[in-house]
């Protein structure tokens, strides 16, 4: 069985399915001693991170080339009749996101160490399955497989919000589930349509991403397919009008849940745009690209303003992540190499800074059992370390130079400017001011000011362990960003080259297979 073979030696499949395998012993674990389950989960997730890190470095340094090549697992045909096969591959674009996911997971466990009180076993299992879903989605190179992993993610997340959430968790969980599902159905239609058209053009069925890339569809058709994909990803990102599920989901989700949601789940939307949205449909009309750019700009300004007047700390951060991801979509759709690498980096940055912010909110909630600004204030005096981390991550997410947020925003905005969208850059830059506005308001409401409450214990050991790596990474990306960007440069360049080759190709009236060889293509 090739699949078992893949599972035994270090391969992408192992990374993806290791958590699910680890979930099995959990099934038989005794529900009561949660302590052991917690430690087990921590060990599993750290092992997962080390495994993925090891494999990534192994692939990266294999033949000494300084960029991250496209490495694929051997494909296992699944439905040969329709060309659906189990294809996993990793390249520069998905590598950082994979590492982010596996890096965040142990932190999520540490974050929810004491905040999750009941059903740890179920919590553990849903987390493990969620990880498999996310990693699978990032690595899937077959559209159907991608869709399957895309759906697998939904259920555990729904459970996490629904079971361990706050008061209105059911409403939030259902809203989250329906929203994402409704979005992903048009995508399924689009995928199937693509596969079908490919069978018409090439004579044989295939859902392989690279093969689909060689096919060019008439512009009108491409537009509709693009809308199908864009809807699913826009909801996930979330793009402006479709974002109302995010604040509810965040406010109601437990700490661990909202960290994953912010750090990783949102990135799937943007990753989707990068991988499938843009390259597959080059002839999409200019107005559509402009529309998305305008929407992301609105997203930035709108979310920043709304965040500024929020009463609930977690909601403020939720809206801030809407703003940050507005930047990312801005970067993606200005279609320049700089803005793409900036967008990719910003995805990771946002994961780290907003993840840290959510952890801190969780810790505050554990101590004061409230997230409302009116009831908080003057944390610097009783909890100096927590205050330090809060200020640090707030500054990072506000885009202070020297920390990670700035690098991403700088590259995105420069890329957008070079991409020819001058006015958009200026409006985007205003977002930077507003970011400072609401984040500093948050700090004023929570950290500074007079503290009259009871003596609270500062950060416990596991909380420090959760926050410290995030802070270090934020600083490192800020100071030496080139180390983090260089590996994924080549893949971004290739994707954009493919995009430009397909874009320059004259428009076709019926599906046509065009050979794409990037090297021959002139710069």
């Amino acid at each position: 069985m090739k699949f078992l073979e893949l599972l035994t030696n270090p391969s992408l499949t192992l990374i993806v399915f290791f958590p699910t395998l680890a979930a099995i012993p959990l099934l038989v674990a005794n529900k009561r001693n949660e302590k052991r389950i917690k430690w087990y989960l921590l060990v599993v997730f750290t092992a997962e991170f080390l495994l993925s890190a090891y494999l990534v470095t192994l692939l990266y340094l294999k033949d000494g080339i300084k960029y991250f090549p496209l490495v694929a697992d051997p494909t296992i045909p699944w439905l040969p009749r329709y060309g659906i096969a189990y294809r996993l591959a990793i390249d520069g674009i998905s590598m950082p996101l994979i590492l982010l996911t596996t890096f965040i997971m142990p932190i999520v466990i540490l974050g929810s160490w004491s905040s999750i009180k009941k059903h740890w076993k179920l919590y553990g299992i849903s987390l493990l399955i969620l990880t498999t879903g996310i990693l699978g989605a990032f690595l899937a190179y077959d559209l159907i497989l991608f869709y399957i992993f895309w759906e697998v993610m939904l259920v555990p997340m729904y459970l996490i919000i629904g079971v361990w959430g706050g008061e209105r968790r059911i409403y939030a969980a259902v809203k989250f589930f329906l929203y994402t599902l409704a979005g992903s159905l048009p995508m399924l239609l689009a995928i199937l349509w693509l596969g079908w058209r490919f069978s018409k053009a090439a004579g044989y069925w295939s859902f392989h991403y690279l093969e689909l890339l060689t096919m060019l569809l008439p512009p009108q058709e491409q537009l509709w397919l693009f809308i199908g994909f864009a809807l699913a990803f826009a909801i996930k990102v979330p793009l402006f009008p479709l974002h109302t599920w995010l604040p509810d989901a965040h406010v109601e989700a437990p700490t661990g849940g909202s960290v994953i949601l912010a750090a990783v789940l949102l990135k799937l939307g943007t990753y989707g745009f990068m991988r499938f949205g843009v390259p597959l449909f080059p002839h999409v009309k200019e107005e559509v690209i402009d529309l998305i750019l305008v929407l992301s700009l609105i997203g930035i300004i709108y979310a920043a303003l709304v965040a500024w007047v929020q009463e609930d700390m977690k909601k403020l951060i939720a809206y801030s992540s809407v703003a940050h991801l507005g930047f990312v979509t801005l970067g993606i759709f200005s279609m320049t190499e700089i803005s793409w690498s900036g967008a990719l980096l910003q995805m990771v940055n946002h994961g780290l800074s907003t993840g840290a912010l959510f952890l801190l909110v969780g810790m505050i909630y554990e101590r004061f059992h409230t997230k409302k600004f009116k009831e908080l204030g003057g944390l610097a005096q009783p909890l100096p370390l927590l205050a330090f981390f809060l200020v640090f991550s707030a500054m990072a997410s506000a885009g202070l130079p020297g920390l990670n947020g700035f690098v991403g925003e700088l590259m995105i905005l420069t890329g957008t400017y070079i991409g020819g969208y001058k006015i958009y850059t200026v409006i985007g830059a205003i977002g930077v001011i507003l970011a400072a506005l609401y984040l500093l308001r948050m700090l004023k409401e929570t950290v500074w000011g007079e503290y009259t409450g009871a003596v609270k214990k500062d950060l416990h050991s596991y909380e420090k362990m959760a926050l410290f790596p995030l802070a270090v990474l934020m600083l490192l990306i800020g100071i030496i960003p080139s180390v983090f960007i260089k590996p994924s440069q080549e893949s971004i360049l290739q994707t954009l080259k493919i995009y430009s080759v397909r874009k320059n190709y004259p428009k076709v009236t019926k599906p046509l297979i065009i050979p794409i060889d990037i090297d021959k293509e002139k710069k």
């Binding site: 809203k175 009008p241 109302t244 709108y302 303003l305 709304v306 500024w308 007047v309 929020q310 190499e337 700089i338 690498s341 003057g378 610097a380 005096q381 100096p384 370390l385 500054m395 202070l400 130079p401 020297g402 700035f406 690098v407 700088l410 590259m411 905005l413 420069t414 890329g415 400017y417 070079i418 001058k422 850059t425 200026v426 830059a429 205003i430 930077v432 001011i433 400072a436 506005l437 500093l440 308001r441 700090l443 004023k444 950290v447 500074w448 000011g449 007079e450 503290y451 030496i480 960003p481 080139s482 960007i485 260089k486 440069q489």
Partner: protein, 638 residues
């Protein structure tokens, strides 16, 4: 030039160590690290400056630390040593060190001691980054870093409710300035694929075509860049539109105000202008704008200062107006003189702030000059040094203030008579509010509470020593610059390579002309002194008399700081907040969520309709059944 790296890294190191120490409250260790690091960087700086300036023809030295970004965006972290940065380096490290020394005394009994010095060292590091950076990015990192530290330091006494609000205001207003800086970075990278000053300026200088074609909004590329950088400068150096944060910044500890809001940070704008003076010289319309704004700021700030009661507020407004002078010099093209005025201002303004610090220290935090008076005999050292400072700033001949201010006025005179006249009035106003404050605090009888009187004591040597050094500095530093009637201009000579000379300007005008200008400025200063003496010799009642002179409404206008703060909140903050609320309540919840819930409602309606048919009565079901069959048969057969 590893020394540059050492200078920059030492304060950062200090910041980290102090940060850690701040959790354990061992004051001695903190003091040691703070002074060691800043002292060390001062010594290295002096040595490098001395070696550099004494060379024959000092070429700018560039030292690349490492590549910040490679593939798409070619940026590296690199430092530049040239006359301009040397001077700035001297100012920052010299004044910085003595303020560190001073604050060991001033902050000795504050429990956030470690945290304070961590922030201060971090500030020093960031400031050095700003002035030594060889490209726009490093400057920008320093630029925002300095903003962060001012935010942290202003909000140092976070327990009270005023500092946090002031610190937030400062950071946001600075951020608006930085927004323009960011746009400048994008443009420069888009057009020159690099952020290095040298490369950008060479590219513009050599490319004639670039200088003429209109880039956008009727501005050529250099003009646009100049405008953006000027907006950034107004944000940082508190010029007219964005100066509101500086007076509120006084909520921070006094040494902070001295270091940041007098000597170093606020001067960053001037440094930036001089660094990129080519851009400004190529765009005369921008220069005209600069002069206008700067002279307006100078005059307005001075007029507000005369009606202020808080000692630090008066000094804050005086800083704003002195900065107005520096920008005025830049506006009229005399970049050397603006840097010279920056140089002298650093000394006497730091001195004045530290003096007021020791006054406040003695009066246990009392800052209202109405409640002081007669401190002459209690604080002799502070009294004398404060007097030297006031004389320097008022512009009396032997002291530094005279030389730099007079040079500025001279150049403005060449430029345009009207602006020279306003400058002259501002000079008079400056000496008036300075002496008003001086008299009210040190002369007349003590107006404080009994218990404060007992407590009155001279500050410890650790505070008075820096006062004396700065006093000596502000006394003699004037001679470095251009001495009227002579061709001796050491400062000009040092800075000349940095300033680009487009076309020869009539630098030297006849002696008579000079004499006239000097007498006029001295007379203005004297007038201010006399007026202050006359009005305030009997104490604060002088204000009523002043009110009667300049009509009541004008006085209230000045006292209320032209109500600029209220204007801003009314015009910008409240509308923004209401739109935000509308957006959230109305758009987010009502429209978007509304449509969602509407859809859900419709579905529920349809399902309710469906359940109506299931009445539970068997007979109905059978009837439906039969009807169904009939339809079926009718369809198939009929």
């Amino acid at each position: 030039m590893t020394s540059l790296i050492a200078i920059v890294l030492l304060p950062f190191l200090g910041a980290v160590v102090n940060g850690i120490l701040s959790f354990s409250n061992s004051k001695r260790a903190v003091t040691f690290t703070a002074l060691a690091t800043t002292g060390g960087s001062l010594v290295i700086a002096l040595y490098t400056i001395w070696r550099y300036l004494t060379e024959l023809s000092p070429q700018p030295i560039e030292y690349v630390l490492y590549k910040w970004l490679e593939k798409p965006l070619e940026i590296q972290i690199s430092f530049l040593l040239d006359p301009l940065s040397a001077i700035m380096l001297f100012v920052v490290t010299f004044v910085g060190f003595f303020i560190h020394l001073y604050s060991t005394g001033y902050m000795s009994d504050d429990e956030g001691y470690g945290r304070y010095f961590a922030y201060l060292n971090l500030f020093m590091g960031m400031m050095l980054l700003l002035i030594l950076g060889s490209n726009l990015l490093v400057t920008f990192i320093g630029w925002e870093g300095v903003g962060l530290c001012s935010y942290l330091l202003i909000g140092f006494y976070y327990k009270q409710d005023e500092p946090p609000r002031a610190s937030m205001k400062a950071f946001v207003v600075n951020r608006i300035g930085d927004f323009a800086f960011l746009i400048a970075i994008f443009i420069s990278f888009a057009h020159f694929a690099t952020l290095e000053y040298r490369e950008i300026l060479n590219a513009i200088a050599t490319n004639q075509q670039l200088q003429d074609t209109v880039y956008i909004f009727g501005l050529t590329l250099p003009a646009l860049l100049a405008l953006l950088l000027f907006i950034a400068a107004t944000g940082k150096s508190a010029q007219l539109p964005l100066y509101v944060w500086l007076p509120d910044a006084m909520a921070g500890p006094t040494p902070v105000s001295a270091l940041i809001h007098a000597a170093t940070m606020v001067t960053a704008g001037v440094y930036l202008l001089t660094r990129t003076n080519l851009l400004f010289q190529l765009s005369p319309n921008i220069l005209k704008l600069v002069t206008l704004i700067s002279v307006a700021t100078a005059f307005m700030a001075a007029s507000i200062a005369i009606a202020q009661r808080d000692i630090k507020k008066v000094l804050a407004y005086s800083t704003v107006s002195q900065l107005g002078y520096m920008f005025l010099a830049a506006g009229v093209g005399a970049f050397v003189v603006s840097i010279f005025h920056l140089f002298t201002h650093a000394f006497f303004k730091a001195l004045l702030f530290l003096g007021s610090g020791s006054v406040i220290h003695a009066m246990e935090g009392e800052q209202d000059i109405y409640k002081m008076g007669g401190l002459k005999q209690h604080l002799p050292h502070t009294y004398i040094t404060f007097l030297i400072g006031t004389l320097a700033i008022a512009g009396f001949p032997p002291l530094a203030g005279f030389f730099s201010k007079d040079a500025i006025l001279a150049y403005t005179y060449d430029h345009s008579k009207a602006i020279y006249f306003i400058g002259l009035i501002t000079a008079g106003l400056t000496s008036f509010y300075m002496f008003r404050m001086f008299i009210l605090t040190f002369h007349g009888e003590f107006r404080g509470t009994e218990e404060q009187r007992k407590h009155l004591h001279e500050s410890p040597p650790s505070m008075t020593l820096p006062l004396w050094i700065l006093a000596i500095g502000s006394a003699f530093v004037g001679f470095i610059g251009k001495i009227p009637f002579t061709h001796y201009d050491l400062f000009g000579k040092i800075l000349s390579p940095v300033i680009v000379k487009l076309e020869e300007k009539a630098v030297h005008h006849d002696v008579l002309h000079e004499v006239l200008l000097i007498t006029l400025s001295v007379v203005a200063a004297l007038l201010g002194l006399v007026a202050a003496k006359v009005l305030y010799s009997q104490g604060p009642t002088g204000d009523e008399r002043l009110k009667s002179i300049i009509t009541a409404p004008l006085y209230t206008l000045l006292k209320g700081k032209y109500f600029v703060d209220e204007l801003y909140t009314f015009v910008i903050v409240t509308p923004l907040r209401t739109t935000a609320n509308i957006l959230w309540r109305f758009v987010d919840q009502l429209i978007i969520d509304g449509t969602l819930h509407l859809a859900a409602g419709i579905v529920q309606l349809i399902s309710a309709l469906g359940s109506f048919t299931t009445t539970g009565n068997l007979r109905n079901y059978m009837l439906y059944f039969v009807i169904g069959i009939i339809l079926l048969i009718a369809y198939t057969v009929g």
